[in-house]
């Protein structure tokens, strides 16, 4: 129908797949996010460390360049679990900054503008809505964590040969598991806080606060009660233990048992999900 024919007409055309419709929310969120120059600058900075790592790997396998630069090969850092751990730390920290910048603006505008009844009156469940919003962060964080690190792994395998790849295949699984665990924790925290705190700067500060206050509280418990269980409140420390175990298969003595670490992280995710579910209602019922 042409726009000048101002008649109401029912829609009889094709429909998209309903199982992937939550991605509409993700796409619209990206259009808004990428219009911010601050975000764009930070997003581009996130690709510098993997780029530098790729250059480093290339140099290490190019004797002529090393000779030209007069760098003895034995002085270079070996490409092993410790190398990937450093880059996992760097990328995760940058991901944390991105989540702090993007996360608070995901759900709060919908709640402030009372838009949830419009979303939820369509063929979109609360789960779809939450998935659409969390996917914004999951996709974004994927682009700067496990995807570039996996590409680095593949690049190193290409330069060193298949033997190196089979010997270090654990690293690839570690990159995937470690990145996804971190992405889930940070995404759920950011989206849950966005649902509860409508003022974006406060929500952003609270994401930092959860880590800092949690770490302080955990240390206090450990010091006062002469225990290690206070570490359960320190999300950063729990992640570090998990990453180290994923990448190097080892755990420092005196640390929390691994089951407790994973229980703590998954419990944290569950609490974030519960907080989010409590806020995602078409209407608040005044009891």
């Amino acid at each position: 129908m042409a726009v000048y024919k101002h008649n109401y007409q029912a829609y009889t055309g094709p429909l998209t797949t309903s199982s992937l419709r939550f991605l509409v929310l993700t796409r619209y969120a990206y259009q808004r996010i990428f219009s911010s120059r601050i975000f764009l600058a930070l997003f581009l900075i996130c690709f510098l460390p993997p780029l530098a790592a790729a250059v480093f790997i290339y140099f290490q396998h190019n004797a002529r360049i090393l000779q030209t630069l007069q760098i003895p090969i034995e002085e270079l850092v070996p490409i092993d679990a410790a190398f990937f751990r450093v880059f996992l730390y760097i990328q995760s920290f940058l991901g944390f900054l991105l989540a702090t910048l993007v996360g608070p603006g995901l759900v709060s505008p919908d709640l402030t503008n009372n838009a949830l009844p419009l979303y939820l009156s369509r063929p979109l469940t609360k789960r779809d809505y939450a998935l659409g919003k969390i996917s914004v962060l999951l996709i974004l964080l994927s682009l700067i964590t496990w995807i570039p690190l996996s590409l680095l792994f593949i690049f190193e395998a290409k330069m060193s040969g298949l033997g190196w790849m089979w010997k270090n295949i654990r690293l690839e699984f570690a990159i995937l598991a470690g990145s996804w665990l971190w992405m889930l924790v940070i995404s759920l925290l950011a989206v849950a806080l966005s649902a509860w705190v409508r003022w974006k700067p406060i929500a952003g500060a609270l994401i930092f606060g959860v880590f800092i206050v949690g770490a302080g509280f955990g240390t206090l418990i450990n010091t006062v009660l002469f225990t290690q269980w206070g570490t359960l409140f320190n999300i950063g420390a729990l992640m570090e233990i998990a990453w180290k175990w994923f990448l190097q298969g080892e755990q420092a003595p005196g640390q929390l048992p691994l089951w407790a670490v994973f229980f703590g992280l998954l419990g944290f995710c569950a609490v974030c999900l519960m907080l989010l579910a409590k806020k995602l209602k078409a209407y608040e019922v005044v009891r």
Binding site: Y11, L15, R32
Partner: protein, 311 residues
Amino acid sequence: MQAVIELDNLTIRLGQRTVLKGLKGAFSGRSVGLLGPNGAGKTTLLHTLLGFHQPAAGTGRVFGYDIQSEIKKIRHLVGYMPENDSFIADMTGIRFVRMMAELSGLPPDLALERAHETLFYVGLGEARYRQLGTYSLGMKQMAKLAQAIVHGPRLLILDEPTNGLDPPARQRMISLIKDIRATGETALILSSHLLRDVEECCEEVMILKEGELVVYCNLEEERKANRKFLELEIIGDTQPFVEMAERLGCECAVHGTFRIKMVLPEQVQIRDLYVLAASKQIQIRKLNYKRDSLQDIFLKAMEGYRGSLQA
């Protein structure tokens, strides 16, 4: 004819309060007006049909789909215009309506085309690239209507669509609703406090009172079924005039000090009333034939629907 809405002992409790009390019925009208005083449960009923509230007992169906187990199918067929402001302030009109169309399942290119058409249709064509936050109240209402119809729903649920509109904007909204109704492709449920809106837009009316369905009727049939009565305005002593009219067989109800509603038996003519008035030195200043309006139907429902001529 398939019922648009079926209610089967539908009961909704919010906290300790029972808001809807065992509603029953099958409603097949193309345009149903939902009336009731504040707190009667109108909006709760609409929200329940959209799956926002879970029934405490009983159930309901929209186009035969159960509101508990098949809510996604229902939402494919429904367009909803909420009562309160609901939109994203920093989005342009076109982006907002397009997103809503895509969420209803339209492919992106067709959603954009429909969004343009719909915004022109509701009269926001020139303002479609402006941010919603800059719209006037009337424009926001139109934007809400646009998002509700952009995907061509089979059932359009309108919650107080003329809220806060000035007379020309209200008239525009009413004419759009009538136009949508006239296509015959979309059924309407219109909840409103304004009886005139319901009277103009709806064929059937459902009246809720304290969570119970007290009236469901076809407006036209109800008007025809209601007895025609006379409304008189007199100057003089009302009581003897009424007594004498009743002796002639008239059914009377005094309304205010000088207004009388009167149903005449077949043998009594208007001329007889003038004779009666002259004999008591009463002036008849106004005399009109009337039928019950929606307001009368509503007021009767609120009084308990006694079914007789009430003052």
